[in-house]
Subunit: 219 residues, 2 copies
DNA sequence: ACCTCGCCGTAACGTACGGTACGGTACGGT
DNA sequence: ACCGTACCGTACCGTACGTTACGGCGAGGT
């Protein structure tokens, strides 16, 4: 019958959520080599149920990715008073959040399977991760940038270019190196430092004030 | 006997190179779903030879990746007279080259398989791609940055930080989006424009001259 | 008490594919 | 002429895994 569970509506039994969490854990441990049997065993459910709920292996993977995506909905940041300080704080917080997510086991595992399956299967996993990764980040950040531009704190022509520059300054080679298996101890303090550096660099490029903070070393 | 062909010594028969080229083509077409049988058929060789030459499937993939890496050895750029113009040109050329490589089918395919296998197999494919991707880029770029610093055109404390910032400004979200299957028409003119923008932004952050080119739009 | 439904556990099926074995052919050396 | 080497093509084996089928069981309804 091809159920094709749409997780975004979250029409999910608690039982099914448990199953997806188990699948998520296995995905982190074993990557794309996880088997339907292993998921069933880990979740203490029958393979028959897996197939009834998710259609096939691809459907299970898709549902798992969407389930995780549903769980990371970040909180939007828009404080009342808006000035350079709050803009800076917002950008830093955003950068740090993003680096924390990217560095997590789950993100790495999901991106790995999505990259592996990109463009080749029916429920395009790559598109889903793209949608809930970079694109979601853009949707969340752009209002902040827009606000910065409207209040005269930032100056840029193309919103998309500004966003992508910020993305580059924050992520740099971190994600690709993690995906390729490079250990890359992202301690909490290192993340905070990188977030500050990226924010300062971004402000140096797109901020209107002629402050001295040109070099990427915060004070 | 575990041959484990070391391609970096290029102890490869012409016949074997042909086989690896065939494997490369199949990798681009089919990704990690390529089978030993398909490679043998495409290259008009026997599976027995594949196993004799490369040990096993992993060995074949490894040899293929190394073979491609051997073919992309970029040419170093160090002109005689060194000034801001040549530094800028060098950076732009570098950025454009890198974007062209990243956008190519072969790079995308190889990065996909390497990400998929990262950390899980014996010949760590991820490490190999890491070595011939980001790390090779760093080794090639750093001398240029060093020269820029020595001649007083650039100013930075940490070489590595400067490199990674340049990386971020050039690559941004391009690579991850390509890996996740996003079409992303990288025309030649778009690449050149991006290379110029990234270079200008980098110079704005790390250059010593107080030129006005702060915003990412070239003139 | 009985039926139905949803689920677990397990066994079974089909197949794709990694890996091996073997016969046949071309060729260079002696 | 004979042999060894290297290779192709193909058939074959073993296994892992996706997928399906079936028997049993507890719960809720009638």
């Amino acid at each position: 019958m091809q159920p094709t569970v749409d997780v975004s509506e979250s029409g999910l039994t608690e039982r099914q959520k448990d199953v997806l969490d188990a699948a998520l854990a296995l995905l982190v441990e074993a990557g794309d080599t996880l088997t339907m049997t292993s998921v069933a065993r880990r979740a203490s459910c029958s393979k028959e149920s897996l197939y009834k709920w998710f259609g096939d292996r691809d459907g299970l993977l898709t549902a798992t990715v969407q389930w995780q995506a549903l769980k990371v909905r970040g909180v939007p940041v828009d404080p009342g008073a808006f000035n350079l300080a709050s803009l800076t704080a917002g950008l830093e917080r955003f950068a740090a959040d993003w680096l924390r997510v990217l560095g997590g086991n789950i993100s790495v595992a999901l991106n790995r399977v999505a990259v592996g399956h990109a463009g080749s299967d029916k429920h395009d996993l790559g598109a889903i991760v793209l949608e809930n990764g970079p694109f979601a980040m853009a949707r969340r950040l752009k209002p902040l940038l827009q606000l910065g531009r409207e209040t005269g704190l930032l100056e840029f022509q193309e919103m998309d270019e500004a966003f992508r520059t910020f993305f580059g300054l924050v992520v740099r080679d971190v994600q690709i190196r993690l995906l390729l298996g490079d250990r890359l101890g992202l301690t909490e303090t290192a993340i905070d430092g990188d977030a500050r550096r990226a924010t300062q660099q971004f402000l140096a490029l797109y901020g209107v004030q002629t402050k001295p903070a040109i070099n990427g070393h915060q004070s």
